[in-house]
């Protein structure tokens, strides 16, 4: 925005931990030895299930909680024990934290007034932000006179207008409708790139994560599962957890058994064209994304169990032997429970994981896929 030409600064998180102690003295490690780097001017997304420590990590970065262990370096300087003000951050709180006695305009301008930005500039910036967020009409309302989404936008406005080199956002779009959210996604990303902000963004919406992030940090139970670019994470999930967590609908994970003739889905007889290091034992998890599953006359036979209408597509739950797979099929395919069909997928669509610790297994061998026509099909689909 206004002439700001800041370049974000790097945030280094080193073995960061945060332990909560309850009255009974029981300890919960909300964040447990987390290390990652949010690179200067890059968009880093924290992703993970509810309660996995995303907000806590963000609050540690902001300096709102004292770390139990580990450190935070911002722009190379150790900031672990410095107060929030010194860290050059703006933040959107998950619970908004709007000042209840101030109206929208005053809430948004709070920081600028604190920092004695001249009124003229304040007015200019306010106008831009309000327009961006569609808040022009609401500037003199109090927070309790706003809808949930409107409150969230005000919180967003307060962070955006600050133009700090680092911006932390905790689920800033969760209460917005799809359309607005899509617009905001684009706007935020553009803004971040234009200003070169270092963004650390918490979300539970992977569409958001994948479309906005330069880097995704997947967390689970206070620890990091995987750090990588969206494509890394989507295409090569490092663990069964990540695999199941990323993607809507999530990846299908099927327990495979090593049979006499090779690896099979229990209850089916055709072995899958897989070669797995025998040291991995007799079971493994096979992952296939719903959108990679196609109807395939030469594929495995399956029975439709349920169909979920999603507008653009249908999600079809199909039983293959003992396993149930969800396939994303075009909406006009007209399937109903009980229908029989054959399903197949490409080789590169298969992911294998250790069934004990969930680690990704390399696909060491190649057999003949059950879907010989997959190349043609792909050709067709993208024609």
């Amino acid at each position: 925005m206004s002439g700001a030409n800041k370049t974000g600064v790097t945030i280094d998180i080193r073995h960061l931990s945060k332990v909560w102690r309850d009255k009974a003295g029981k300890e919960t490690a909300a964040v447990d030895g987390v290390s990652f780097t949010a690179e200067a001017g890059k968009f880093t997304v924290l992703l993970g299930p509810s309660g996995c420590g995303k907000s806590t990590t963000l609050r540690l970065i902001a300096g709102l909680e004292a770390a139990s262990d580990g450190g935070i370096l911002i722009d190379g300087k150790d900031m672990t024990r410095r107060p929030p003000t010194d860290r050059g951050i703006a933040m959107v709180f998950q619970s908004y934290a709007l000042f209840p006695h101030l109206n929208v305009e005053e809430n948004i301008l709070f920081g600028l007034k604190v920092r004695k930005v001249p009124p003229v500039e304040r007015a200019v910036r306010l106008r831009r932000v309000a327009e961006l967020l569609g808040l022009q009409e609401l500037l003199d309302r109090k927070p309790n006179q706003l809808s949930g989404g409107q409150q969230q936008r005000v919180a967003l406005g307060r962070a955006i207008i600050a133009e700090k080199p680092i911006c932390l956002m905790d689920e800033p779009l969760s209460n917005l409708d799809a359309k607005l959210r899509h617009e905001m996604r684009v706007e935020l990303r553009a803004l971040q790139q234009k200003l070169g902000l270092t963004m650390v963004y918490v979300t539970h919406d992977q569409a958001e994560a994948i479309s906005m992030a330069d880097r995704i940090v997947v967390m689970n139970g206070g620890r990091i599962e995987q750090v990588g670019t969206p494509t890394d994470i989507y295409d090569r999930p490092a663990s069964a957890f990540t695999a199941r967590f990323i993607g809507t609908p999530p990846m299908n994970l099927i327990e495979l058994k090593r049979g006499l003739r090779g690896w099979t889905i229990p209850g089916t007889d055709a072995p899958l064209p897989l070669a797995i290091d025998p040291a991995q034992g007799d079971t493994a998890l096979l992952g296939v994304r719903p959108e990679d599953i196609r109807r395939d006359p030469s594929g495995i036979e399956a029975v439709v169990e349920a169909v979920e209408y999603l507008g653009a597509d249908n999600l079809v739950d199909c039983r293959l032997g003992e396993a149930v797979l969800t396939a994303r099929l075009p909406r006009h395919a007209g399937m109903k429970p009980g229908d029989r069909l054959r399903l197949g997928w490409g080789d590169e669509a298969m992911h294998l994981f250790n069934s004990v610790n969930g680690e990704r297994l390399p696909l060491t061998g190649q057999g003949s896929a059950p879907t010989p026509k997959h190349d043609a099909a792909k050709q067709m689909a993208s024609s």
Partner: protein, 275 residues
Amino acid sequence: MEIAVDTSRYDRILNTIGAWALGLLWFLPLIYAVWTAFHPGAYATRFEPFAPLTLQNFVNAWNAAPFAHYFVNTVMLVTMVTLSQFVLCTLAAYAFARFEFPGKTLLFTLVLLQLLVMPEMLIVENYQTMRVLGLIDTIAAIALPYVASGFGIFLLRQTFMTVPKELEEAARIEGAGTLGILWKVYVPLAKPTYLAYGLVSVSYHWNNFLWPLIVTNSVETRPVTVGLSVFSSVDQGIDWSIITAATLMTSGPLLIAFLLFQRQFVQSFMRAGIK
């Protein structure tokens, strides 16, 4: 918030110094009271570090009136007053904070009016009322005029008004009735205020003198202040040693109670969760 701080270190030191300086200044009369109470009368005005200590002042004070009995009475009195105030004021404050009904402003004005009316003015009339009720020389008679406290109603109203309305709505949806909401939502959320009010009300009634003196006659009903007043008659000049000893003796329990209860304020039982 546990802000990871060290800039505010100076802040904090300044804060501590300021707080303690003011605290000591405020405590001077009490420090003096402690000094005087534990030293012989001759040292009431001279502060020599090695002056002899004595408990005689306390012994004298204790013997001057049936204090044991008075303490029991006072404790009964403050318990009675404070509990009934809590109940009545809570009900009334809730009505003022969250109900709309005709005459509300007028009634609230009448309540505020009670704050203005000084109890001394009402002594003669209230004495008559008590006589009609046959309550002269009972603890109930001391308590009754104070039970509906304008102060308490006003205070609780202010507090209830700041409770997020959603919480009431949630309780209402869950099927809680008016009293249920009050008891399960407003009262727990106003806990700091109840503590504050309780402390203030207890100290007030612990120290109230004129009305109890007038409306009671017997050792069985009189509060400690009546015993205390024996020492403050000045015909023969003030004996600071015994006044302070008696004061410490009668107010000591209150000070200790405060030290204990103030901890409750610290506990953030009402943090966050409220957006």
